[in-house]
Symmetry: C2
């Protein structure tokens, strides 16, 4: 997995990320990894499913991983945040 193929889901509108994923794949990438933390996880699932739908059968849903990431909090205490990684690849 080339790091340039990771799509980090943030605060932008959902379709921005769908179009980014489609573009990476059209430019010859064999896979994309859709990654999100916290409340953006729901959006990541939407992005993955809509990207799959747009690909009309040319993409395969790969592994979906969820893990707790420990980030430095604003007050210096560690902060536990859920994260998801959804892999989409050409068959």
């Amino acid at each position: 997995m080339n790091d340039t193929n990771v799509i980090y889901i943030g605060q932008k509108p959902m379709m921005n990320y769908v179009l980014a994923a489609v573009k990476r794949l059209e430019e010859g990438g064999s896979s994309v990894l859709i990654q999100a933390r916290g409340r953006s996880i729901s959006k990541a699932v939407d992005v993955a499913l809509i990207t799959m739908d747009r690909a009309k059968g040319e993409l395969r849903m790969g592994d979906i991983n969820i893990v707790t990431e420990v980030l430095p909090g604003v007050d210096g205490n560690p902060l536990n945040v859920s994260s998801i990684r959804i892999s989409l690849s050409r068959p």
Copy 2:
């Protein structure tokens, strides 16, 4: 998968669902299926990871599935909603 072992994630505080999942497992269930739609998906991931953490190694993360569900919308038109199912089971 017995249907009574499905935990549907809704608007209640997250820990309600964690405690429900732990209770089902303590009552002898061999697995729980954590299920959510739309914006509750992020909460479902939190519930799964915290339930895993509480189980201190006694649970195994099973399959994670995401699908688009087509629901009847308020205006009668079909509504596409993302959904997730996370399976946790005893090894």
